[in-house]
């Protein structure tokens, strides 16, 4: 069906186009709509005000993740505000016929972890959620992006969005990644190169040997942080790994239908001669374990590098660097290695999946959390927790002095009891190091891969994970 020279974005866009709108926007059908408790209650309220029903309730799926505590999830939740948000979501879903994966049903988790896990995230689909990290689902070759609450209302009412078409930038990562280097390091390197603003107006297509070699969970980490580079969505073309991952998931097609679906999924991948608005290449071998030192994800360096010095920066960059260094209270020109950490957080929709926990556990089993460091492991979903427990990873973490928690967003943004206190500095596997992001208005965040977080937890300061244990293989 596809003409020659089309990329995946073009194909998916075309298939979901309902009509052109005056002013050049497209009315695009959103096949799969995901919601959570923070950005949907106001949308349901707007809908009620307009006296409109949910048009396709079977195409919206809900869970609770941001406000759910990770120590005790029994009802009612101890925080009455959190309980009110959860009850409101339950009520909205029940009234409108939307499927809700609640904490007592075994399938709850961070929305971007459970979508793929349940087989709701499918190649060639359009996915939207009132959450910017919806870009995660692009790992399957879906066009997936975050929206605001008014747009959540639009989808509930019409299953559509009014959108301007994005341009497509292909980002090729060549060669092989070195041992101890993960998808997290690759996306940080991409953001460092292109800037936190570089992707505005673009969808990112990630490809090349290093990306093709990644498993599905690594691809999710990569696509997850597209938004941190300014790109509203990022995707990887579906391949046999994608198809294998989707076999036997609760919501993926079954039997012959699966084989028919797989044919369509293969066909939706970008054509070999596809056209792009821009192409960028990075050398996979050159990517080092990365660490942020500042207040946005573009403020990152290789673990062996030194913290930037403002007077070596261009005029344009200088003010930003000065502001970041002042907030972080780090010494310009000092090596980032050796920076003391107070807290270590392993989890989030970026790095809270089973492969992330396995890599972190490999490091954790080599020692014990440094005295005085608070270390948390928070599985991204109840399914991830079950799997980790079946493999004994929870015990590995506990033995090493980490706290083993229940599924949720936890300290990624701290709308729940997990928070930094005061000026604490946190080695974190999450995606944002903004001022105040982890719950303390003065708290500080250093983003890195889960293995690097585990290594920092044991040492009590930032270390190169490759030095910790030569067995930490890819």
């Amino acid at each position: 069906m596809s003409q020659k020279g089309q990329n995946l974005f073009d194909k998916v866009w075309q298939a979901h186009k309902v009509r052109e709108l005056p002013g050049g926007q497209t009315q695009l059908l959103v096949g799969t709509h995901l919601i959570h408790e923070v950005t949907s209650p106001q949308a349901f309220a707007m809908l009620r005000e307009l006296n409109l029903p949910v048009r396709f309730p079977e195409r919206t799926f809900a869970t609770v993740d941001h406000i759910i505590p990770t120590e005790n999830q029994s009802r009612p939740l101890s925080d009455p505000l959190a309980e009110a948000m959860l009850s409101e979501l339950e009520k909205n879903c029940a009234e409108s016929g939307v499927t809700f994966f609640g904490p007592d049903q075994g399938q709850q988790g961070v929305i971007h972890v459970i979508g793929p896990e349940l087989g709701l995230t499918l190649p060639g689909s359009t996915i939207a959620c009132g959450d910017s990290h919806t870009s995660t689902h692009g790992a399957f070759g879906a066009i997936a992006f975050g929206i605001g609450t008014s747009q959540v209302r639009d989808i509930l009412a019409s299953q559509c969005l009014a959108l301007a078409r994005l341009k497509v930038r292909r980002i090729e990562v060549t060669g092989q990644l070195s041992s101890g280097v993960y998808a997290k390091d690759v996306i940080l390197a991409i953001i460092r190169k292109l800037g936190v603003n570089g992707g505005v107006g673009f969808a990112y297509e990630y490809g090349g040997e290093a990306i093709e070699a990644m498993d599905m969970e690594a691809r999710m980490t990569l696509c997850n942080m597209s938004i941190e580079g300014g790109a509203r969505c990022g995707y990887v073309n579906p391949d046999e790994k994608t198809i294998d991952y989707l076999r036997d998931r609760p919501f993926s097609p079954k039997g012959d239908a699966f084989e028919r679906a797989a044919e369509q999924w293969r066909a939706v991948a970008s054509d070999p001669d596809a056209q792009y608005d821009d192409v960028i290449t990075l050398e996979g071998e050159a990517i080092e374990p990365s660490v942020t030192w500042g207040i946005h994800p573009g403020h990152n360096i290789g673990v062996l590098e030194e913290i930037p010095t403002p007077n070596r920066a261009t005029n344009e960059e200088r003010a930003g660097i000065e502001e970041a260094l002042e907030y972080m209270d780090l010494t310009p020109g000092a090596p980032i290695q050796g920076t003391p950490v107070d807290v270590a957080f392993i989890g989030s929709c970026t790095n809270g999946r089973i492969t992330d926990l396995r890599e972190a556990a490999k490091v954790a089993q080599t020692g014990h959390v440094k005295e005085g460091v608070r270390a948390l492991v928070v599985p991204g979903s109840q399914e991830v927790a079950r799997q980790a427990e079946a493999e004994g990873l929870d015990q590995v973490f506990r033995d090493a002095g980490f706290q083993w928690r229940q599924a949720g967003c936890s300290m990624c943004l701290a709308m729940n009891p997990d928070k930094l206190i005061g000026r604490e500095l946190c080695a974190s596997s999450s995606n944002r190091n903004f001022k105040g992001r982890q719950g303390s208005p003065e708290g500080r965040t250093l983003l890195m891969s889960p293995a690097m977080v585990a290594a920092a937890a044991l040492a009590g300061y930032v270390v190169d994970v490759r030095e910790v244990n030569s067995d930490v293989a890819k």
Binding site: R19, T39, L81, M85, G130, G148, L413
Partner: protein
């Protein structure tokens, strides 16, 4: 709501306030801990709360001279980070109906449009001229002309940009997208019926 009831947004006339700095993210505009509510009603109370506390009374939003401003002048990549509509809701409820900056994060700008808030971009020199003029004479009234994408202040008339699609939506009162989308009627079901994962493979 029918289309005829919608408000056309053609012009904003108000005093302005300046917040300097690039890459101001939505976590700063409205810290996440204030989002633990099911309505937007109180969002205006906590606008830039942590930044204001950290600035110990010196934040522009606490500056008496900017009190009552309806236009906010910002830097580059304003509203980056989380997609929370709580951010523009907070600014709107604080009293702003337009933003003028060097660039805006995409989701933020989209959220603004769906609330009927104007985002106008200006070149870096023009932004600096405007900032200086407003900081010097904060009592002046400035005026945004949506159709022309200009802003006029005592320093003169500056040519900016509003993406054509957004501009038309504002001018024609089509910024409230729900009713526009619903006009497609059965075409929505028709499109859905051709898609494997919706109708079944």
């Amino acid at each position: 709501m029918s289309q005829s009831e919608m408000t056309r947004i053609t012009e904003i006339k108000a005093r302005a306030c300046v917040i300097r700095g690039d890459d101001i993210d939505t976590d700063r505009i409205i810290p996440a801990r204030f989002m633990k509510v099911i309505t937007f009603d109180d969002m205006g109370l906590h606008c830039f709360e942590d930044d204001r506390k950290a600035a110990k009374g010196l934040h522009p939003l606490e500056d008496e001279r900017f009190k009552g401003a309806g236009i906010l002048i910002v830097g580059k990549n304003f509203g980056c980070g989380s997609s929370r509509e709580h951010a523009p809701q907070s600014l709107m409820r604080f009293g702003f109906s337009a933003f003028v900056g060097e660039s805006f994060a995409e989701i933020f700008a989209g959220n603004c449009t769906s609330l009927g808030l104007v985002c106008l971009t200006l070149g870096s020199d023009e932004i600096e001229t405007l900032r200086e003029s407003i900081e010097l004479e904060p009592d002046q009234e400035v005026q945004i002309d949506v159709a022309q994408a200009t802003i006029s202040a005592r320093t003169g008339r500056l040519q900016g940009e509003i993406p054509a699609g957004t501009r038309d939506q504002l001018l024609e009162g089509r910024w409230d997208s729900t009713s526009v989308l619903l006009e497609a009627g059965e075409a929505i079901e028709q499109t859905a019926s051709g898609i494997g994962y919706i109708r079944g493979y």
